[in-house]
């Protein structure tokens, strides 16, 4: 099914929270320039799974994993892995938009200032502008770059968070239900954006909106109670699911 070189993969992955096994033996691969949707009912372990790839679960002391996670064939959980380096490559957009209470400009510039990669103000300005353009937000905010980001609308805030993630030029974008708190128009903008962004990034998106998964993704994985029930091309998952449970969920019999 997937015979190109994988950008990111999980092999026989188990995730534990204390004694609870949140993910059981999941194996799947993500391809460059494709959108991968992870669907399933709330609490099935999708978000947990997403946070494995940029090691955000490291923050939770009770969380531990078994199995392997590979980025370009490199073990993400290897002893010598620089986690900050990893997170620069694997960007993340959170479910609830979380801009810093700083100006719009400073939000986008944050990651660049942190790693000191910009030589001068002009370069920084250019990257901030480019990131806001990539996130389809530039036209709306170019006149108010020094306004507090918290004054933006919910949809704008979420696109700002995407711009902030893009600014440090990641290779992969993990999105944890990025549109779940937004109105349909803002959701539409985010979906268009995802379609644009996949030309340059590997995208993994968690959603519990099946229509959204069907619209924007190339591959879909269905999670149920910590188990990856089925994973494959979106068109096939939605038209001829192999597993009864997938079929049940997609046709709306439970979930």
């Amino acid at each position: 099914m997937l015979n190109e070189p994988y950008k990111l993969e999980a092999i026989n992955l188990d995730v534990y929270y204390g004694q609870v096994k949140a993910i059981r033996n999941a194996t799947l691969q993500f391809l460059p320039n494709k959108v991968h949707a992870l669907i399933g009912p709330s609490g099935c372990g999708k978000s947990t799974f997403l946070r494995i790839f940029n090691r955000m679960n490291d923050l939770i002391k009770a969380a531990r994993i078994a199995g392997r996670v590979l980025l370009d064939g490199q073990d993400v959980y290897a002893k010598n892995m620089d986690v900050t380096e990893l997170r620069r490559k694997v960007g993340m957009v959170f479910q609830k938009s979380n801009p810093f209470p700083k100006t719009i400009y400073e939000n986008v510039a944050y990651g660049l200032r942190i790693n000191g990669s910009m030589a001068n103000k002009a370069e920084l300005d250019a990257r901030v502008e480019q990131s806001l353009k990539d996130a389809a937000l530039w036209d709306e905010v170019k006149a108010v770059l020094h306004k507090n980001a918290l004054e933006l609308s919910g949809g704008q805030q979420q696109r700002l968070c995407i711009a902030r993630a893009l600014a440090i030029k990641p290779e992969i974008l993990l999105m944890d239900e990025p549109a779940s708190a937004l109105d349909p128009i803002s959701t539409g903008k985010i979906e268009e954006l995802i379609y644009e962004l996949k030309q340059r990034y590997t995208i993994v998106i968690v959603t519990h909106n099946m229509q959204q998964a069907a619209r924007i993704s190339d591959f879909t994985g269905f999670f149920l109670l910590g188990e990856l029930v089925e994973y494959g091309k979106t068109a096939e998952i939605f038209t001829q699911p192999q597993d009864k449970r997938t079929e049940g969920y997609i046709t709306g019999r439970f979930g």
Binding site: M56, T84, R87, G91, P101
Partner: protein, 289 residues
């Protein structure tokens, strides 16, 4: 059941009115001593207040002249206290909130902080005398006084800083870490700036506390009479609370108004600090919403 039938004769609305009236009365009672205190201090002390009183040195065995070295001495003592306690306290709060694991050591430290806040101030004074004045040979000096006061206000600063740090949303930390920031970068660039108003509030409350304490400086810093400003941190210093104690009990034939005016200056300084803290907090809350 009997109780219930008895009460039920009053309508719930009446019960509510009585309860609220009682609560209002209790709350107003708290205001009373403050208003009374201010009224007495202003009434009896305002006649002695003048520019000269604030800018002249004490004269005639402290019976006339001003309290300039006393005011400045207080400011210096308190300034030294904050210079020592603020960095230490904030550092401790950062460690406890952001880094410390839940183990026996952390538990002990937290317990120590709570206990430190409950120690009577005279004990700090004697402790300062033993440690800073005698053992470390700093003498009765501004340095010893500031160090002693610093230990006194440390729990205030640590506790308020911890609260300020904990109130910074976890999502800010996550956003910062997900952008490849280290934990320290996250604290320095993201958490600390957002916690700053809360930390400032704690610091100002600590200033007010330090400015008003007598017992900790009694044996460690306070000079009975020093008609000039101290030359170095190793000199003793005059300070408002101790000076007030001295002129109230040790100096015969001194005008009442001078005593009240001195008390008024002290209370005004401490209340002014608290007021300043409230304004900062209010301004910050308004900005956040």
């Amino acid at each position: 059941m009997k109780f219930k039938t008895k009460l039920s004769r009053l309508s719930p609305n009446t019960v509510q009115k009585i309860a609220f009236a009682g609560l209002l009365a209790a709350t107003s009672l708290v205001l009373l001593p403050v208003l009374l205190l201010m009224a007495v201090l202003i009434g009896k002390g305002v006649t002695a207040l003048s520019w000269t009183f604030l800018t002249d040195i004490p004269r005639d065995g402290m019976r006339s002249g001003g309290i300039y070295p006393v005011i400045v001495g207080t400011c210096w003592l308190v300034g030294g206290t904050i210079a020592i306690a603020l960095p230490l306290g904030v550092a401790a709060a950062i460690y406890l909130t952001e880094y410390a694991r839940r183990n026996f050591l952390t538990w002990t430290i937290k317990l120590a902080i709570v206990n430190l806040a409950g120690v009577p101030s005279i004990v700090y004074g004697l402790f300062g005398l033993g440690l800073f004045v005698m053992l470390l040979r700093c003498g009765v000096s501004m340095l010893s006084g500031s160090l002693t006061l610093a230990i006194l206000v440390l729990p205030i600063i640590i506790t308020s800083s911890q609260e300020a740090l904990a109130s910074v949303p976890q999502s800010y930390r996550e956003a910062s870490l997900a952008l490849g920031a280290t934990r320290w970068q996250t604290i320095w660039h993201c958490v600390l700036p957002n916690a700053l108003p809360g930390i400032m509030t704690g610091a100002i409350l600590a200033i007010g506390r330090a400015a008003g304490e007598t017992a900790p400086i009694l044996f460690t810093a306070a000079a009975f009479y020093l008609p000039h400003l101290p030359n170095s941190v190793f000199d003793p210093v005059m300070a408002l609370p101790y000076h007030l104690y001295v002129i109230a009990t040790q100096i015969p034939n001194i005008g009442q108004d001078i005593r009240y005016a001195t008390a008024l200056v002290l209370v005004a300084m401490v209340l002014g600090m608290s007021f300043f803290a409230i304004i900062i907090r209010w301004h910050y809350r308004k900005k956040r919403c």
